[in-house]
């Protein structure tokens, strides 16, 4: 049996309780069950935990991290581990039915047929309903691993939750994140400590901040916003900047991808080919191209929304800092953005605890309205106006 700090378990940062539960399930068949639901705040490692668990399930040694089974699972190429990563806005019923077919198979070589659904909160209601029966009673060697941010019924329908064993991940401590950055990614300790503190307990974000200068600059631009908002013109400009940078990020991420995908599909449909029979062969291709376009659009919307959401969470963090500094100026607890303490103090002085709370509310309302498909421009303008500093 592999120790809790070895093999695949090293991937899980600062989650000793979760590791203990999962190891127990590997060691003792009585502690194993057919459906697991990993919950925890973003960046705590829900999907990492699910993949590590999948590797440990397939590995004869319980997850040593070096054997063929472990390596293929972690690389996402294991034949009996099926991972669903929605890159669009939602997982539809059609995709869920595909999952059911996979779940019905016996494992081909491994010990388990594992189905991992990252972002199970993106399953539509009909998708959840479609896989209910399968999750309730899958074939004996099939196991479902679902990941969702919380157990709130908005994220996971109660009917799904009641059929799963819940594993709750916590926000990893700053020291644990810094430690991982230093040891696994070879980041300079000072930078690792800074990015771990600035990441708000999000491991992936901490790594990105530590390794990507652009990410640091983007964060700085976002955190500069609150003190800029002194006039209506400044508010509208700030909203433009936020929406603009989200758009840039989307374009950078989708441009290369969209073009090559479309080309690949066109090539496989035989568009542009010559010779007899081409017309008959390409018939119906337009529908497939349209479907691809729809998926690409959904993905672009998702990337843009995620980028805005990150900015909004950073903003809310700064107002939260202002709030705690105002409430406990003497001995403030840990700050979200320790490097921007001066900004937070300035904000606290100008808007006070009540103002900070109101602004946090406004940010949450804005995230909510973005989720409901409000035009980003409109939502962000309303937000920056609500965040405007009193003159």
């Amino acid at each position: 049996m592999v120790a809790p700090t070895e093999g695949v378990w090293t991937q899980l940062v600062g989650q000793p309780a979760v590791v203990a539960d999962l190891r127990a399930a590997i060691a003792d068949p009585a502690a194993m069950t057919h459906a697991w639901l990993f919950t925890g705040p973003p960046g705590s490692g829900r999907s990492v935990a699910a993949r590590a668990f999948a590797a440990a399930l397939q590995c004869p040694a319980g997850g040593d991290g070096t054997c063929h089974e472990c390596r293929t699972v972690l690389a996402g190429t294991h034949a009996d581990v099926h991972v669903v990563v929605p890159d669009g806005l939602s997982i539809g019923a059609e995709e869920a039915r595909g999952l059911i077919r996979v779940a019905g198979r016996a494992p081909s070589g491994g010990r388990w047929q594992v189905l991992v659904v990252e972002d199970a909160d993106r399953m539509t209601e009909s998708a959840s309903n479609a896989i209910l029966k399968m999750i309730e009673e899958p074939p004996p060697r099939t196991v479902f691993l679902l990941c969702a941010p919380s157990l709130h019924p908005d994220d996971v329908p109660v009917t799904i939750r009641s059929r799963c064993r819940v594993i709750g991940l916590r926000t990893p401590p700053v020291e644990a994140i810094a430690d991982v950055l230093v040891h696994r990614d070879g980041v300079d300790p000072a930078l690792a400590a800074w990015s771990a503190a600035a990441s708000g307990g999000h491991v992936g974000r901490a790594r990105r901040l530590a390794r990507d200068e652009d990410a640091r600059l983007a964060r700085k631009a976002v955190l500069d916003v609150p003190l800029r908002l002194v006039s209506l013109a400044a508010c509208l400009d700030a909203a433009d900047d936020l929406v603009g940078s989200a758009k840039e990020e989307t374009e950078a991420a989708t441009e290369a991808l969209d073009g090559s995908e479309t080309e690949a599909l066109k090539a496989s449909l035989g568009v542009g080919a010559r010779g007899p029979g081409v017309v008959a062969a390409t018939r119906g291709g337009a529908g497939q191209l349209k479907e691809l376009e729809r998926r690409q659009k959904s993905r672009a919307t998702r990337i843009g929304r995620d980028s805005l959401d990150r900015a909004l969470v950073d903003l809310a963090g700064l107002y939260r800092d202002a709030l705690v500094l105002d409430a406990a100026a003497g001995a403030p607890p840990q700050l979200n953005h320790p490097d921007r303490r001066a900004d937070a103090e300035e904000l606290a002085r100008r808007i006070g605890a009540e103002g900070a709370l109101r602004r946090i509310d406004a940010i949450l309302a804005c995230r909510h309205s973005l989720e409901r498909n409000v035009k980003p421009q409109v939502a962000l303008e309303a937000l920056t106006v609500a965040l405007r500093l009193p003159s």
Binding site: L236, S369, R372, N373, E381, V385
Partner: protein, 333 residues
């Protein structure tokens, strides 16, 4: 807009443009001119779509009995390549006893055919789309005059408002009015038979909202919903109007050229926004931005009734303008 008078020497004609009524009139004018010269002329009208070349050759071939012929080929933008080639070939060596009219609905398809006709010296009747309101007003005025009537300016505007963009309907309404009222038409005459708003978009609604016209904006909203304008489009137009007004009002400059450059908007839009921003305070615009954002969520499914959400948002924005507006103190005095 009458068709150009038929030159007796021109045996090739092209009628081209998007406006169906004008095309039909141009063809009609040619037909009557030909019949005027040659009362016993043979008339052929063929649709280009699916027309066999043999049939075309049949009507283009010299007649056994002599006499003049008029051949009209409609919809040549849809003609097959071989047919277009046949027409081009004929244009190089036209028959003096035959008038050939090709009717093209505008656009890029089979443009080469039209060009070759023009190169061969064909007379061209242009029937461009009548898109602006000003052009439509001019059209109605011309229609009435052509039928021997007179119409007052406010009557023309009312008629165009009520009927919209369809030239055939406008023309029919004009001739009906002339025959009903014996030639002199004023706004009351128009109002007896035509009422309402044929063309109303989200922008029409937004304009009324921003100028604080409560009754007018609700009226336009009802018309827009009645005409099937999507809720989202109306909400977007309102949000866009509020935002542009806020943009213009929040900058200290009032020079339209400067503003257009800073805001990257066309000057006409800046001028319009400046007019709309008048009477708004910064505070009011800030509140209105919030209302516009709520409305955007509401029309996308957050509200039980999008109709009601729109109406409520419009009332709120107008109220905000009145309560916080710059003209407030002046109005109370």
């Amino acid at each position: 807009m009458p068709a150009a008078p038929v030159e007796p020497t021109s045996r090739l004609r092209v009628v081209i443009g998007e406006e169906e009524l004008l095309r039909a009139r141009a063809v009609g004018a040619v037909r009557s001119a030909v019949l005027g010269h040659h009362p016993d002329a043979e008339l052929h009208e063929l649709a280009a779509l699916g027309l066999p070349i043999g049939q075309l050759a049949d009507v283009l071939a010299p007649s056994l009995f002599g006499g003049h012929r008029l051949v009209v080929v409609t919809g040549v933008q849809e003609s097959a390549g071989a047919l277009a080639d046949a027409l081009t070939g004929y244009a190089k060596d036209p028959d003096p006893d035959l008038t050939l009219v090709i009717v093209h609905a505008g656009g890029k398809r089979n443009e080469a055919l039209v060009k070759s006709f023009k190169a061969a010296g064909a007379a061209v009747d242009e029937c461009p789309k009548v898109s602006s309101v000003g052009d439509r007003i001019a059209f109605v005025r011309h229609e009435v005059r052509r039928l021997g009537g007179r119409i007052t300016p406010d009557a023309v505007t009312a008629l165009v408002d009520a009927i919209g963009a369809d030239l055939r309907s406008l023309s029919a309404a004009a001739s009906q009015l002339v025959s009903d009222f014996g030639g002199s038409i004023d706004a009351d005459d128009v109002a007896r038979f035509h009422r309402g708003q044929a063309e109303v978009t989200g922008f029409t609604v937004a304009e009324r909202v921003l100028t604080g016209d409560r009754a007018g904006s609700i009226e336009m909203l009802r018309w827009a919903l009645d005409r099937g304008v999507a809720h989202v489009l109306i909400a977007d137009a309102i949000a866009d109007g509020v935002r542009t007004a806020a943009r213009v009002a929040s900058l200290s400059s009032s020079n339209p050229g400067d503003l257009a450059r800073t805001l990257k908007m066309p000057p006409w839009k800046v001028k319009k926004a400046q007019a709309q921003a008048r009477g708004w305070s910064i505070e009011g615009l800030q509140q209105a931005l919030g209302v516009a954002a709520d409305l955007n969520a509401d029309v996308k499914g957050a509200a039980a009734s999008a109709d009601y959400a729109l109406e409520r948002a419009i009332r709120r924005i107008v109220t905000i303008r009145i309560e916080t507006g710059r003209g407030r103190t002046g109005a109370r005095r």
